[in-house]
């Protein structure tokens, strides 16, 4: 394979910006109309992602050790879109047509190299998808509870129809039939339960098609689809250190799941949970947290508000409030929330002297449609 020549050829297509992906998808849909239904109405984000993903594959093509796990993950992840092995040749043909269309110096050698490379990529992805075949490609889950807690926040109870294994703190992708083919990431706010029920917290982002629909249109009796769990906030079994959990906004969900795990599975440990929000109305889960605190003597919940002068809750940014309590030097720390809040809190805790390897954080931003090649869920 002449990798430099392939890279030069790919660069020509990539240099056209939106034009090449547009050509690719139109070509694919015209030659295989059945593939159109696998994509959302608006293809704008899809086009961006296709070429950035392809670009990463091309960039790493001579480092197979790094590339193969990425392709395997992609292959497994594509099952939930309804991708079948039969779709891969169709995509390959359209990809080649696209690369040819945007290169004046297209040659039979290039065609041969690309065919070889694509066949390899497809084989790895198909094999990984096949290996995961004993797992469902997606799980249907019934919405059995839907409670609007604030003007833009709803708490949903989901009951998967088949067994769904995950760890407390992980995230999962979710699709509703109201917004077909748009997958978004949410974190269950509870550890796995015997009855399989999952609590999902959703904030309607302004103009966000999926989150608004989940808050305002979806109701009890609707069905959503779940993808396999992903993510890295998790308690490790080999430590029973006391926990310090700091949540901002919707970052509460995975941390509440950790609290739930301590309650269900132990080991016994003290847990301090700090939850920050702009004002009292944004503390959408206050009643449930207070109940948890009453039921569990080892749990202390502190709510903070940053823009609510008349509230009786603790005042200030949640990172600031955390530092007013403490010290936290012996704790295992988990921080989840919006980017600035996470950065601020982590910086303060480091300055306070908590060893960096004991601080775990996850940024909760509006989730992007799929995990990036590096497996990051949120932006």
């Amino acid at each position: 394979m002449d990798i430099p020549a392939m890279r030069a050829n790919f660069a020509k297509a990539a240099a056209t910006g939106d034009e090449a992906p547009l050509y690719f998808y139109s070509h694919l849909f015209l030659s295989h109309p059945e593939t159109r239904a696998m994509f959302p109405v608006s293809m704008a984000h899809q086009r961006d992602r296709l070429f950035s993903a392809l670009g990463e594959v091309v960039a790493r093509v001579d480092d197979l050790d790094a590339l193969v796990p990425i392709l395997q993950q992609l292959g497994r992840d594509h099952r939930k879109f309804g991708t079948l092995a039969a779709h891969y040749p169709a995509v390959g043909a359209s990809l080649l047509a696209t690369l040819e269309h945007f290169d004046d110096q297209w040659s039979p050698e290039l065609a041969k190299d690309w065919t070889e490379a694509y066949t390899l990529v497809a084989e790895v992805m198909v094999a990984a998808a096949d290996e995961a075949a004993e797992q469902p490609a997606w799980w249907d889950a019934d919405v059995v509870g839907h409670e609007v807690r604030a003007i833009d926040v709803a708490v949903l109870q989901l009951r998967p129809r088949a067994r769904y294994d995950y760890l407390a703190g992980q995230s999962l992708s979710l699709e509703t039939e109201v917004r077909p083919r748009l997958w978004r990431y949410y974190s269950p706010a509870n550890a796995p339960r015997p009855d399989g029920l999952m609590e999902i917290h959703v904030k309607a982002r302004d103009g966000g098609p999926v989150s608004s629909a989940l808050v305002r249109r979806v109701g009890v009796g609707d069905v959503v689809r779940l993808g396999p769990p992903v993510g890295h906030i998790a308690l490790h079994d080999d430590s029973d250190r006391d926990l310090l959990l700091v949540a901002g906004g919707m970052g509460l969900a995975p941390l509440k799941a950790l609290v739930d795990q301590v309650a269900r599975r132990g080991p016994a440990r003290r847990v301090d949970l700090f939850v920050g929000a702009r004002n009292e109305d944004h503390h959408y889960d206050r009643a449930a947290l207070q109940r948890l605190e009453q039921e569990n003597p080892w749990l202390t919940v502190t709510l903070a508000v940053s823009e609510d002068k008349i509230s009786s809750l603790e005042q200030g940014d949640v990172g600031d409030v955390v530092m007013r309590h403490g010290p936290w030097l012996s704790r295992e720390v988990f921080v989840a929330g919006p980017g600035p809040m996470v950065d601020d809190t982590v910086a303060r805790l480091r300055e306070h002297g908590v060893p960096p390897q004991r601080i775990h954080s996850e940024v909760f931003a509006p989730s992007r449609p799929g995990p990036s090649l590096d497996g990051e869920v949120t932006e």
Partner: protein
């Protein structure tokens, strides 16, 4: 009862999703109320969606039938699309993308404006309510004669004592906790100094806090040149002060 296209003479045409969306029910009279509007609206919009889905499914099935028929008759099923076709579909897709983006942007503006208004109104309402309550309390205080003492201790005195005890309790808890945390930290660091080889290499497999399984002979000597009191004394007053108000 409703205004489905009955007057226009195109009975040939099937019911389409737009027809369902456009159905308007006549208002029930004041004496005989009808269904809840929002419920009816929700059902109607689901019906429209379902109908749209069926229409799309029918089209897909027709395509499939055609492809299968072509296959049976030995005609090529997939011919490479012409550049012209690709161009036309591309521009149609771009148009669709632009509409979706515009709709999302519009929805974003509307909701964010609505939210701003909502939050401002709520804030004002809260402030007003706070002011009303405060003036009511002041009025109540003026109406109660100042010297009307209850036998024994007054409610206020009791409340004051309860508040004091609460603050005292939480201050004690904070002090105790600070002390314990400092103790744990110290034990951890001294444990490392006494026997560095016992420390885990690289990132962490922290010692379990409350188990003694890692305790070792060196621990006792390390503990005797005790530095525990220092951080405890420094930390405690500072945290305790900020807490006594609780």
């Amino acid at each position: 009862m409703s205004s489905v296209q009955s007057e226009s003479g195109n009975e040939e045409r099937g019911l389409n999703p737009a027809d369902v969306q456009n159905v308007r029910f006549t208002r029930a009279s004041m004496m005989r109320p009808g269904y809840v509007d929002t419920e009816v609206d929700r059902v109607m919009s689901r019906v429209a969606e379902e109908l749209a889905r069926h229409i799309a499914e029918k089209a897909a099935l027709r395509d499939e039938v055609r492809a299968l028929r072509a296959h049976v008759e030995g005609l090529p099923v997939h011919e490479a699309p012409s550049d012209q076709a690709v161009r036309i579909l591309s521009s149609a897709q771009q148009t669709a993308d632009a509409y979706v983006a515009e709709a999302e942007e519009f929805s974003r503006q509307m909701t964010s404006e609505a939210r701003t208004v909502y939050e401002e109104e709520l804030r004002q309402a809260r402030e007003t309510a706070g002011a009303i309550i405060q003036s009511a309390q002041e009025a109540a205080a003026r109406m109660t004669p100042a010297g009307a003492d209850v036998p024994g201790r007054s409610v206020e005195e009791l409340e004051e004592q309860v508040a004091y005890l609460k603050a005292f309790g939480s201050a004690v808890r904070v002090q105790l906790r600070s002390y314990l945390e400092a103790l744990i930290t110290d034990v951890e660091s001294e444990w490392g100094k006494a026997d560095p080889a016992a420390l885990p290499q690289g990132p962490p497999r922290p010692p379990a806090q409350r188990s003694n399984r890692d305790g070792q002979p060196g621990g006792a000597t390390a503990f005797s040149d005790n530095t525990v009191a220092q951080p405890a004394e420094e930390d405690v007053p500072a945290t305790a002060v900020s807490h006594s108000a609780v």
